[in-house]
Symmetry: C2
Subunit: 221 residues, 2 copies
């Protein structure tokens, strides 16, 4: 067991070194990288579709698509005519900074404003691997239940913003918004929460406005 | 990279050896172990609640609850007065056979018929780690979208049965049942598919009947 902990520490250390390199490079180039983390099917790709439609005219957007084995999400995003790189992790359950670093070589970083990374659908390991992003975005669907912040505290404590998606399904589920907010506030008291339906369009303007502010104001990386 | 692949192979080999031990022990004791794998919030715990209610009078049931950090799912199952062991994986994204082996020591295996393992909410790594189970059960919610079999083929190819939960939400989503079945059939052509709503009760009798048949007829493990 001690050996495994040491191996894990080595892997995380090597990941951190490369993530620092990536962050420096992106700061130099003025590119904001957003690491989007959620369960499978929480709506990351649909959120990216809406965001490309709303902000594609104002900013130069790129996307890195993390997927175990297919390029299905990338296929859905092709229509926006933006640069997309797919990273297939095969049996790997998260992206790491080494694969991001390789993917960056494919982009023209001088012309990019924002780079979205759609991480592999998983609430656990992606939270432990810094990719060199400017910030992490947690996306959770109401259909997953209101207990996710309490059950996956690392992600929700690290996220700079939380998107609660599929609010249109609340009437048909036992999702309790007060319980969700209570647990989230205990973990990350001041984190902005956007309640949206990416398919119906509800709540999206607030998200776009916040994101635009982040692109313009916070340090790159 | 070669080093990491070797380390991963060693970890999987050690896991397999212990899984074989676990399987032999459970066969000897006549206990069927079911490894339940799904995304976070697909409905594993609610399915277990309904299953305990339906089959608790006929069979002696035990549960191992895999969770990153809390015992919330175990708290929900306490009311059935059955033996439950919680395994907190901390930052780990899957259960392994070593932790299962330790948990088994807490049960009176001679008196158990069936042991459900609620794995950590994750579609990826749990599929790679044999726990010594009789079979794997894949649970997926309609709210996650119809593309999950294609995107996570290892789980769906290894599952002895697939439960499609939250069918009551289909009218409010763009879930396409034909697309789902087509992808699933390409990966695992003869796998039984149970379309259920664990909260509303739809489709559960077919699942109970099939499970009862498995408990009585297939080899233990």
């Amino acid at each position: 067991m001690t050996m495994e902990i040491r191996i894990m520490k080595n892997i995380l250390d090597r990941n951190q070194n490369k993530a620092d390199e990536v962050r420096n490079l992106l700061r130099e180039k003025g590119v904001k990288m957003v690491n989007i983390i959620s369960s499978p099917g929480a709506g990351k790709t649909t959120l990216l579709e809406r965001t490309c439609e709303a902000l594609g005219g104002k900013f130069s957007i790129g996307i890195i698509e993390g997927d175990v084995t297919t390029d299905r999400d990338a296929q859905r995003l092709k229509k926006y005519d933006i640069p997309i790189v797919v990273i297939n992790t095969e049996r790997g359950c998260h992206l790491d900074s080494h694969s991001i670093s390789k993917a960056l070589a494919v982009f023209d970083l001088d012309s990019l404003d924002i780079l979205f990374v759609e991480n592999v659908g998983n609430l656990i390991c992606p939270s432990s691997f810094d990719l060199g992003e400017a910030f992490k975005l947690a996306v959770v669907s109401t259909a997953e239940g209101d207990d996710k912040p309490a059950k996956y505290p690392l992600l929700f404590s690290e996220a700079r913003a939380v998107i609660l998606n599929k609010t249109d399904l609340i009437p048909y589920t036992d999702f309790n918004i007060e319980a969700f907010i209570k647990d989230l506030s205990a973990i990350n008291p001041r984190v902005p929460l956007f309640r949206i339906s990416a398919t119906k369009g509800d709540g999206l303007p607030g998200w776009f406005e916040w994101l635009e502010y982040q692109i313009k104001s916070s340090p790159a990386g």
